[in-house]
Amino acid sequence: MSAKKTARKKKPAGVPARVTRKGAAKRPAAKRAASGAPPKSTARRAPRRTAPYSDFMIQAYVMESDARDRYTEFADQMEVHNNVAVARLFRRLARIEGLHAEKIMKEMGWRTPPAPTLGWIWGHADAPESVPVTELHYLMQPYHALELALQCEQRAASFFSGIARSIAPVEVKRIAIEMAKDEREHVRLIKDWLKKVEKPAPGWDRDPDPPYQAE
């Protein structure tokens, strides 16, 4: 369920949605503080650590770490081809995905990364959050890089939503719902980011002296 729908359920009659959302977030905490009760933790409720849950978290970790590694490789490629702006952007995206991977490590209490789950596990060759390697161009611009990142976040959201709708055990479904929500938030953030980046002009890939020209 989206955050918007949840907020609507809590809305008292006659109060505009925006005001209600802000108030709904603040009022219970203020009440708790006034009553002297300890503040309610915002951390995820500790789930049951069953084998399917651990398997799912390994898969989620591999997805995030693969995305981090892919963006790092892309940043290296762009540096080699002197596309500094896109290299910097890919490096930033790699750092963000790395933080997500670290968060899973921390939540699971893993000291070392789990052994990668290999083989055809995504229903597709590549992990949902990894940009296909063939999508790069040496003259690409930050806008293109963000468009690729947006597609990845959308695929990731849909992957976790699919698990949430599947016949997976309840503890897996619960975490999949949370992860899908996180990914949808990333989609929103990248969409906002895209609005601030200049859209490439037609012919952006035209190079009067291309490095590889079939003669």
Binding site: Q77, L118, G119, A125, Y212, E215
Partner: protein
Amino acid sequence: MSAIPQAPALTAQQFKSDVKPVWCPGCGDYTVLSSITKALAILAVTPENVAIVSGIGCSSRIPAYTTCYGFHGVHGRALAAATGLKVARPELTVIAAGGDGDGYSIGGNHFLHACRRNVDITYIVMDNRVYGMTKGQPSPTTEPDWDSKLSPHGTGLREFHPLVIALASGANFIARASSSDPNGTAELIAQAVRHPGFSFIEVLSPCVTFRPEQRAWKEAVRPAPVAPTDDPARAARRLMTDDGFNLGVLYAGRRKPYRPDIGKGTRRVAELETEFTL
């Protein structure tokens, strides 16, 4: 005597050198490099016990991008050098790597005889069906109707079928992988290295510069719907009817690898030198 502390297994990243690849952005070879380093991490080997041998071409640059021993050799001769190395140093893990032009045209004869000899090495061919480094000439695996500035209306020549030829020539392990599936490719490489004898992996690795239409390969590939077989006749039927996009181990044979006993006959270099003294 106290036990020697065991070194922790290396990560894939630790098998990558500081030299950054200079392939075109979008090239499939980037993920093949990642798959090789992931496979070496899975195999828990150390860089000093692995040698990566190549010929000439875009993909043959790969030894420089790893921390393993490497030999960037002569065009089409990767398998000759790799075979010699494995025979002389059987304790090493020897991987030969290169492209379709290097391996099937200039190196075609070495390919046949490496399969026949069945020395315990792994051969990874990054097949993009074009000579990329020399600006896009058709290679042995190029489709007969591929129309380009250098081959107007196509070559009209039937393409080489490396997997069938490898089977007919005696390769002991035959697999197909895709650069769009780096984790699956890593697993296949690890299996190939573990399998005794000559292991051959064809990796579909698009050339986005001269064959941009190959980007669509990632949608065409899928896991082979059948389990690996050790029956060459069954494997031949599968490979002859295969459309070229089934991934996985397609044949895992039981032939004994060729391991010549060269220990007794080896002499000191100084002794050998005396034979050439005039």
